[in-house]
Symmetry: C2
Subunit: 185 residues, 2 copies
DNA sequence: GTCTATAAGAAGATAGAC
DNA sequence: GTCTATCTTCTTATAGAC
C-alpha cells in the first residue's frame, strides 16, 4: 500500500505493488510487467505467487470486502436505526480514509466490478446499503443513501481534500453524511 | 449513446458505439476491434474517422465538458450564492441524469482522467467546484461539496435507483444535494 | 523464489487498393 | 468510407533451469 518497496513476504509485496498500480492506472491499465518492474523482479516471479492476474485482483479487494462484512456485523448488533447508521458510517468512513486516493478509482473499475458482481461480495455491499436505508425506504431515502455511499468513496481522491489530516477528514465526512441522511448529530 | 445501431454520420456512429463500450468496459478495456465489431466494420474503417484511440476518447468526453462550462457560465450570471448553487446543481443534475449509467464508470476512468488532467478541461471542473464552495471555503464546506460532486456522479449507476424516472431522480438529487450543502430549499 | 526463454494472441496503428 | 494485409509492440501465460 506504500510507494517504497515494503518488507513482508513475496506475496504481500506483489499485492502492495498491485494495489498502488491498480489505483493509478486501473486494473486493465496495469500489466504484470508493470507489477514485476515495480518490484524489480520478472513476470515469472509474480506468476509464482499468483496463477492469474484475476487472482491478484481478487486478493487485493478481498480485505476491503471482509472489512465491509465486519462493519455490517457490528452495526447489526446495535439497537435502533440511529445507532446502526452511525456505526456503519464510522466503519465505512474509517475504511475510506485509510485508503484515501486508492478507493475511488478502484471502486468503479470495470474489472473489479466484474469480480464483485458474482460471489458473496455483492451481499456485503447490499448489507451496508440496507443498514443505511432501513427497511422499506422511500425514494428520497434511497437517493440520499446512494449519494452518501458514492460521496464517501469519492471524497478520498478529491484534490481539495488531500491536505486534510485523517482525523479531520473522518469527522467532516461523518457529519456531512449524517446531515445528508437527515440523522440528528 | 443508445444500444441499437443508430443513424447518423460514420463519425457519430463510432462515438455512440465507443461511449457505450467505454461505459461498460472502461476505456482500457475497450479495443478498437470491439468498437469496429459493434458497428459491423473493420478497425481500419474506424481509423478513417479518428487518427488515434485517444482522439475518440477526447471526442466522447468533450460534449460533457462543454456542458459543464455552459452550466458555470449560467450560474455565474446569477446574483447571490444561493441562486448560483441552485443553478449549478440544476445543471449538473440534468447532465448526470441524462447520462445515467454512463457517467460514473466513465468519470473515474484512469484514461479519461489522464486526458482531463491537462487542458482547459480541469478548469471547467474547478469552476463548478468553486461555484459550489463559494470563495474561501472552510474544511466542512469543502468536504460537503466533494461528497455532493461524487454522490451526484455515482447516483446514476446505483442499482437501487434505476427504476426511478428522470424527473423524480432529478428532484431527489437536487433536494439531497441542497440538504448536504446546508442550503435552504 | 527467482530466473531465461518463449509461445500464442491481441493491442494500436499504417499502407494502399477499391 | 470501407476494405485486406501487415507491422510492431505488448499482453497473459507456460516450460523448465538454478
Amino acid at each position: 500500500m506504500q510507494d517504497i518497496r515494503p518488507a513482508g513476504t513475496a506475496r504481500e509485496r506483489v499485492l502492495d505493488a498491485a494495489l498502488a498500480l491498480f489505483a493509478e492506472h486501473g486494473v486493465n491499465g496495469t500489466s504484470l510487467q508493470m507489477i514485476a518492474d515495480r518490484l524489480g523482479v520478472t513476470k515469472a516471479a509474480v506468476y509464482h505467487q499468483f496463477p492469474t492476474k484475476d487472482e491478484i485482483v481478487q486478493a487485493v479487494i478481498n480485505p476491503a470486502l471482509d472489512r465491509l462484512d465486519q462493519i455490517a456485523d457490528e452495526a447489526e448488533a446495535r439497537r435502533g436505526r440511529g445507532a446502526q447508521v452511525r456505526a456503519v458510517l464510522a466503519g465505512v468512513v474509517g475504511l475510506v480514509v485509510e485508503h484515501r486516493r486508492l478507493s475511488a478509482v478502484f471502486s468503479f473499475d470495470p474489472s473489479v466490478a466484474r469480480l464483485i458482481r458474482r460471489e458473496p461480495a455483492v451481499r456485503s455491499v447490499e448489507r451496508i446499503n440496507r443498514l443505511l436505508t432501513g427497511p422499506d425506504p422511500d425514494d428520497a431515502t434511497r437517493v440520499a443513501v446512494a449519494m452518501v455511499s458514492g460521496g464517501l468513496i469519492v471524497a478520498g481522491i478529491d484534490p481539495d481534500l488531500i491536505r486534510l489530516d485523517d482525523d479531520a477528514l473522518r469527522e467532516h465526512l461523518v457529519n456531512t453524511a449524517l446531515r445528508t441522511l437527515g440523522v440528528r448529530r
